[in-house]
């Protein structure tokens, strides 16, 4: 077995172990022996609380890590983040509008729907700004993404200042990224769409290997860079948007996981994409499980845990860059 496959199998085993551990741990612990003779209460906890939460964590982890790997490939920048195109800010603005209008208390579907519309609107504006003479300029796309993010951030803050305390809290809980109270409804929103997105990106992943070589190199070997860049950006933005809708803004997954994965399995995106999916699933599930068990009875939100675990790694990378120079 060669090295990439060794790590892939390792991550699969790790994910299975994490699923079992996550099923067992919680306010009411369920030991491995209990699985043979579950009480009705334990069954209900597993089926209605822990299993959907685990599946949402896995879906979001996969989506964010893949989106990050794709964005880093498209921009040829190992530190690019899925939020780069204003998608996360757009989702936040959408969500805050849903909260401000009081729709979030009417149905659980309003906030994710508004967040999704917000994300796609932001993506549309960013992309149209970067279009010039029939071609998309990645540099302008980056800058347009920053500008749109800032504008939407200001809009979100503006709306927040007008909201009452209860609604403010509701939005804040969504924004820090949480998997609390995630049920089968959320699984049904996230899992099928993310699974389809993942399959499409894996099928197209060899084209990322060409795109990453840069505009001229890619066109020189016969790639329609415009078409593929567009496809990859839209797919990664959709993946980010879905995960933000379901779990709020969970940072560092798209930045840290693909980077770690590349160190382990090399740069070939045909391996990097599925490995990032596994790595992202493991990372988010680990963060969520630790968050809800370490400081029991306080449920530390998954967005906080990913930042707490992701920041040291990111700082380590920056330190390495400073000391050793060269590329990340």
């Amino acid at each position: 077995m060669n090295r990439p496959w060794f790590y892939m199998v390792g991550m699969m085993i790790l994910l299975l172990v994490l699923i079992v551990v996550s099923l067992c741990m919680g306010i009411i612990p369920i030991s491995a022996n209990d699985f043979l003779h579950l009480t009705e209460e334990q069954e209900r906890i597993l089926y209605f609380i822990r299993l959907p939460r685990i599946l949402v964590a896995i879906s979001i982890g996969m989506a964010l890590a893949i989106a990050g790997a794709v964005i880093q490939g498209v921009f040829g920048n190992p530190l690019a983040d899925p939020g780069i195109m204003g998608v996360v800010s757009g989702a936040s603005t959408g969500a805050v509008i849903a909260v401000a209008l009081g729709l979030s208390s009417v149905s659980a579907y309003y906030m994710p729907s508004f967040a999704f519309i917000g994300a796609l609107t932001a993506l549309g504006i960013t992309m149209s700004l970067s279009w010039y003479k029939g071609r998309m300029d990645p540099r302008i796309l980056l800058l347009a993404g920053v500008a749109i993010s800032m504008l939407l951030g200001a809009l979100t803050s503006g709306i927040l200042t007008l909201m009452n305390e209860y609604r403010l809290k509701e939005f804040l809980f969504w924004m820090v990224g949480s998997l609390e109270y995630r049920r089968w409804d959320h699984v049904l929103i996230a899992l099928p769409s993310i699974a389809v997105g993942t399959a499409i990106i894996i099928a197209l992943s060899k084209h990322l290997n060409i795109l990453v070589m840069g505009e001229v190199e890619a066109r020189a070997v016969g790639m329609n860079t415009n078409r593929y860049r567009m496809i990859f950006l839209v797919l990664s933005a959709m993946m980010t948007a879905i995960s933000v809708c379901v779990g709020g803004s969970i940072g560092f997954v798209g930045l840290v996981v693909p980077h770690m994965v590349r160190l382990l399995v090399g740069p070939d995106h045909r391996i990097v994409i599925p490995a990032s999916a596994l790595g992202g699933a493991c990372f988010v599930l680990l963060c969520d499980t630790l968050g809800r068990t370490l400081f029991h009875p306080v449920d530390v939100r998954v967005g906080i845990m990913t930042a707490v675990l992701g920041t040291p790694y990111f700082l380590f990378l920056l330190h390495r860059l400073k000391v050793k120079g060269g590329s990340l």
């Binding site: 040829g76 060409i210 016969g222 790639m223």
Partner: protein, 266 residues
């Protein structure tokens, strides 16, 4: 040498309304090694990029008899390869993976590399002498080796025409000479090479034909002996030269005559 493989008709490139290169009408033939020479900023690289359809241009460019502006990316990639002056690849792809990208146009969108692709990559890497570097990254090899890996990538495209933008700019004199000798060999095998080159003596030694660009247009076209004449060089480079034949090696030598006032402070 009668097969026209590339034909330029009234090709001009403008940037912000300013001409970068103007009204180039030329035929290029099978087996020619063409050096594009001229002072900086006169449109050598621009002309090469326009030929490769990487820049918008006016006029027509025909490759293997087809109007390239109307052809697919795949067709163009199978007709001509293009080697950039400088290549920075952000991730640590191995030399073999980089050379394999040259086979992209031959694969369908869902397919990975075939046995045929692998065989060709192996062959071109052996041909350019970089087989032993196949697992190395570009950061781990010397400048000369990097250029040979990129040349192998261009060869993996199996094109009749190769467009090379200053392929020896980062190489020392010895490696540059080796590289051009290799180009000469490729041309004998039927490739048509069009290369931007700064070293006039190197161009004179190995190119069968030179295109001198000055004042944003072609001011001389012909054999090195016909093109490298002091009056043309003066027009293109604004420098006085003495061009003579070195009898020991039978090579053209170009000696610059110090020209007062060319630089500020002289």
């Amino acid at each position: 040498m009668s097969d026209v493989v590339l034909c330029l008709e009234q090709v001009s490139v403008y940037r912000d309304g300013q001409p970068i290169v103007q009204e180039v009408t030329k035929d290029f033939y099978k087996g020619e090694c063409i050096g594009i020479i001229g002072a900086n900023g006169n449109g050598k690289t621009t002309l090469l990029k326009a030929i490769r359809q990487l820049l918008p241009y006016e006029g027509r460019i025909y490759g293997n008899g087809q109007d390239l502006a109307k052809q697919s990316d795949t067709f163009i990639a199978k007709t001509m390869s293009y080697m950039q002056q400088q290549v920075e690849i952000p991730y640590a792809f191995s030399a073999e993976e980089i050379v394999m990208t040259g086979r992209y146009a031959y694969q369908s969108w869902w397919d990975s590399e075939s046995d045929e692709d692998r065989r060709i990559v192996e062959e071109v890497m052996a041909y350019t002498g970089v087989s032993h570097l196949k697992n190395y990254h570009l950061e781990q090899v010397s400048g000369g080796e990097k250029q040979r890996i990129l040349l192998a990538k261009a060869l993996a495209q199996e094109t009749d025409i190769m467009l090379l933008d200053e392929p020896t700019s980062a190489l020392d004199k010895g490696h540059s000479d080796d590289m051009f000798r290799f180009f000469q060999h490729l041309c004998k095998e039927g490739k048509t090479i069009i290369t931007v080159v700064h070293d006039l003596e190197l161009a004179a030694k190995y190119c069968s034909r030179l295109l001198l660009i000055g004042e944003h247009r072609v001011i001389a076209d012909g054999t090195p002996k016909e093109v490298l004449r002091p009056e043309y060089i003066k027009r293109a480079f604004d420098m006085d030269t003495d061009v003579f034949r070195d009898e020991r090696y039978g090579q053209l030598r170009i000696e610059i005559i110090p020209n007062k006032g060319r630089w500020q402070g002289d």
